[in-house]
Symmetry: C3
C-alpha cells in the first residue's frame, strides 16, 4: 500500500476527483493554500496498491495542465520614492506535485 499525496490547482480538482473515482480509486480532498502565492489550491491523498501508483500518476498528468499566471506577489517592492509599486510577474504554476510514500500498515473497515 502506498499513499499518493498531490497538490493541484483548484480549477482541476473536480475533474481529478471524478477521473480517479471513475477508475475506482478512493480519495480524500483537503483545502490548502500555496506558501508562495498564498492562494487556495487543493491537496488530495489516495491510499493505492503499489502496482497502481503509475496509473494514478498518469490520470493526474492527463487532467492537470501547467498554466501561466500573472500575479502581483504579496511582498511589496519599494520604488525609488519608497512608494509601494506592486510589480505584476508571470509565474508558471505546475499541473501537480506528487509525493508517493510507503504505508507500513493499512486498516479499513
Amino acid at each position: 500500500m502506498k499513499l499518493v499525496l498531490m497538490v493541484v490547482q483548484d480549477k482541476d480538482a473536480g475533474n481529478l476527483l471524478s477521473a480517479l473515482t471513475e477508475k475506482d480509486f478512493n480519495v480524500t480532498k483537503l483545502a490548502s493554500s500555496g506558501g508562495f502565492l498564498r492562494e487556495g489550491n487543493t491537496t488530495i491523498f489516495a491510499g493505492v496498491d503499489a502496482g497502481q501508483v503509475s496509473e494514478v500518476i498518469g490520470i493526474i498528468e492527463e487532467v492537470c495542465p501547467v498554466r501561466e499566471k500573472i500575479v502581483t506577489p504579496v511582498s511589496p517592492m519599494a520604488g525609488p520614492t519608497n512608494a509601494y509599486i506592486p510589480y505584476p510577474i508571470e509565474v508558471p504554476i505546475g499541473g501537480a506535485v506528487i509525493f508517493v510514500m510507503d504505508v507500513e500498515k493499512y486498516v479499513k473497515y
Copy 2:
C-alpha cells in the same frame, strides 16, 4: 515514531478526539471531504510511538462504526427520455480508513 493518518466520519470526530486525548495521545484534525460523495469528513493525524500504534487503532475501531447511507450521487444517470433522474443508492460508509507511515526524524519543542 510512526504517523497514523485516519479518515473518519464527521459524526465520530469529536468522540474520537476525546478518546485519543484522554489516553494522552496528541492529535491534529483537518477538515476534509470524500472524493466520491463530495461530502465533509474528518482527517486526523497522530505521531505515535511504534509500540502504541495498535492501541490507537483499537480506539478508532471502538469509537467509529460503519454506517449505511442513502445518497443521491452527484453524477446524473440519464433516463430513457434523457431527463436527469437522480437515483438514490445505498452506500456503506466505513468507520475509518487508517494509514500508518514511518517517521524518519521527529522534532518537538
Copy 3:
C-alpha cells in the same frame, strides 16, 4: 526527497511561510486544529531534498517560539455542588512538532 510535515501556532504561520519561501523552499499550508484544545493551528508540508531537511528544521526553530497559554479546557470539571466550574489552566504550547517522512517517488511538472 523527504516530506517535512509540521504543526505550528497560527501566530507564526505567516512568518514561517515567508521565511521558507525566501530560502526557495516550496510549501503548502493546511488549516488544522489541535485535538486537545480544539483551537485552530496550522499544518504545513514541504517536499525537500534530504540534504536540506536540517536547514528547514532550523528555520522553523528560529521562527516558531514556545508560548504559555491560559485556557479553559472544553471538558467541565464538576464542583462540589455539581455546578460547572471552568478551571482555567496554563498549557505550554510548543513552537512546533515536525515529522520527516521518506518520499519513494516524486513527480512535479
